[in-house]
Amino acid sequence: MAVSASNEATAAGVQSAAIRPFRMEVAQEEIDDLRRRVQATRWPDRETVADQSQGVQLATVEALARYWATEYDFGRVEERLNALPQFLIELDGVDIHFIYVRSAHEDALPLIITHGWPGSIVEMLNVVGPLTDPTAHGGEAEDAFHLVIPSIPGYGLSGKPTTTGWDPARIARAWVVLMKRLGYTGFVAQGGDWGAIITDEMGAQAPPELLGIHSNMPGAVPPEVSKALSSNVLGAGDPRPSGLSADEERAYEQLSFLYTKGIGYALEMGLRPQTLYGLADSPIALAAWMLDHDARSYEDIARAFVDGEPVDGLTRDEVLDNITLTWLTNTGISSARLYWENQVGFFDVKGVRVPAAVSVFPRELYQAPRSWTEQAYPNLIYFNEVDKGNHFAAWQEPELFTAEVRAAFRPLRNGRSS
């Protein structure tokens, strides 16, 4: 894909030698090649079970391929992204791509939102309007945010690191630099999936400019529970820790399922990301790999493709926008390397010191109990369990997610010096 940084001034008016305006430009040949590859897919035989227990079902991927090759509008990603101000900035040796929308409301709270895997900035596109322009989306002017949505190194339109070391803590440090470079002396941060881990790292680093964080995948699992879980990954069969409340038991069982049956992709990417050559060479391999994140989101996405019944915002087009962006940027493997780089437990307590807000979505990988969350985030300013939404909270439930982010950060606005 041609990644071009144009020299035109943009609406956001960012003028800096190091911050370059950016537009995505995809050559027609790349689209043609992608479509050709999808149509020329050589399929395996059908799984030998009647459910998803062996992986992404052939019928699901065939339905996806049909729609991708024949109905999907390949210009969508480019159009959607280019409708927003985008920039590149070199941070710590890597070009970081970001969407940056300043609210028309002067007192807007600066917010940096970080996506995850297998996501991208595509996950956040439907919250840009509601967060930056609340009065047009049922909110108050006091709810406005200035919004920064970076692409993680190795993901989407950011550069790909050519050396090691880009772990969540380093990304967190880069985000703080980015916000300061944009001129913000007080800002908040939000994330889910890798974005949650990066945001937690920011909260643990606690730079003075960071007023608070919000997570929709909190790192709240107590160390002794985490230890029991990780021994079971390898089949040791340690017993469940005693003394858990009903909420905690539920969380333990959700995590136990995840670690023993549902996280093979993460372990494989953590150990051998480079071996996954099929993700670079086969669009269908990439699509299937990205669909297989967790059982609940897979169920929702399969419904969209097989039954034509998307669950709220997770439509076929949205799902394919994300996969198409990953294909066109050839970032299947570079994004997988984040798992190799990472050394922290996904759901472990990270030592966040700043004010923290947590929203628990019911179909998330695990539902963090309030008890664990209070221990993990000693300065917990907001905790709420919402009634719908899976792992991809912003993507699937943009309205609900927006309402959560507004409510979560409300207490931090009043104390701000203006």
């Binding site: 897919t41 050589r42 399929w43 395996p44 035989d45 059908r46 799984e47 030998t48 079970v49 062996q54 992986g55 992404v56 079902q57 052939l58 991927v61 790909k160 690191p161 050519t162 050396t163 090691t164 021994s231 390898l234 089949g235 040791a236 069969g237 340690d238 049956k261 549902g262 093979g264 992709y265 372990l267 494989e268 953590g270 150990l271 051998r272 990301p273 480079q274 071996t275 996954l276 050559y277 099929g278 993700l279 670079a280 060479d281 086969s282 269908i284 391999a285 990439l286 699509a287 299937a288 790999w289 669909l291 297989d292 050839n330 299947g332 493997i333 570079s334 390397r337 190799w340």
Partner: protein, 403 residues
Amino acid sequence: MSSTLESATEIRPFHVDVPDEALEDLRRRIAATQWPEKETVPDHSQGVPLATMQKLARYWMTDYDWRRCEASLNALPQFITEIDGLDIHFIHVRSQHEDALPLVVNHGWPGSIVEQLKIVDRLTNPTAHGASAADAFDVVIPSMPGYGFSGKPTSTGWGPERMGRAWAELMTRLGYSRYVAQGGDWGAFVVDQMGLLAPEGLLAIHTNMPATVPADVDRASQAGEPPPADLSAEERRAYEQLLRTYGQVEYARYMAARPQTLYGIADSPVGLAAWLLDHNDADGQPAAAVVAALERTASDRGELTRDEILDNITLYWLTNTGVSASRLYWEYKGGFFNAKGVSIPVAVSVFPSEQYQAPRSWAERAYPNLVYFNEVDRGGHFAAWEEPELFTNELRAAFRSLR
């Protein structure tokens, strides 16, 4: 037209005959590979390096000749017979020597019958290879269900135990009333299961990947916990090797959980090749023997060559068995190297670069009827493929007492 009963046990001759178009399509796909960028490390620690894959791909699409492999397969008598509802492909070579011992040899993953090609003549025709007529075997080499030219199961249940039953039926169908069985990797699981089933006629098994690990050590090594305190030096070494092995078998855990999601090994030749290359042995991941073979263009005494590595990968590609072969990991719910309780006569050869070197003490406990135990001085996980001469000698010695 044969009756149902006859056709059910019919043994049909089989020849490999891949259409030109399939080979052209393979070359075209390799040439059109979209590559990732280079790994961010200077070694194998993130997976099979880009330079390795690109070099292999160049050779694969230009000078590599599948027809040579096809000819060597077709030089051997091959058959298909339906067992338990599935077409089973096998090589079957009878020795000229009357008293030859019938032997079924079972390959593993990421292998195929290609692993066994160099031992066929050595085993069936010993006098041409410096051994005596008394060492002769009649050799049967089946392709596991879902592998190579065997059928692909369309329903669940084809784990090692069912394969063990199928091989017993195959040997009976071939008219053998007394026979032995051999295996490494999945083949070792299958022959252990045959040993547990102890079908009438099975005299003994030989394994080059013995399952000997005592329960307490098995648990500790999987959980990454300290070993029991009373281990001998050899046992301690085996425990350390198991720890390392369990740290590099995510490919196996992945296939056990989500084999169907691996669409890239059906659609991308390079995706398939990298996945098959990234097996581990005692010297690392990918297996040191395979990495070395990628640089070896010719072989004096049967050492593994680049062509043989590609023969095996190309066989997977042409039969589109990447995913169907992976399902065996999903089917199997038991332990990897834990003692299974085999009580019939067992022979064990320990190769130094196997994933762990089974200590004699554990082998004796795991296999109470241990008729042979030997530690050889070279070779690894792909024993028959890496060291055909040494492997053949081991089988001759292992089964001598049972003739």
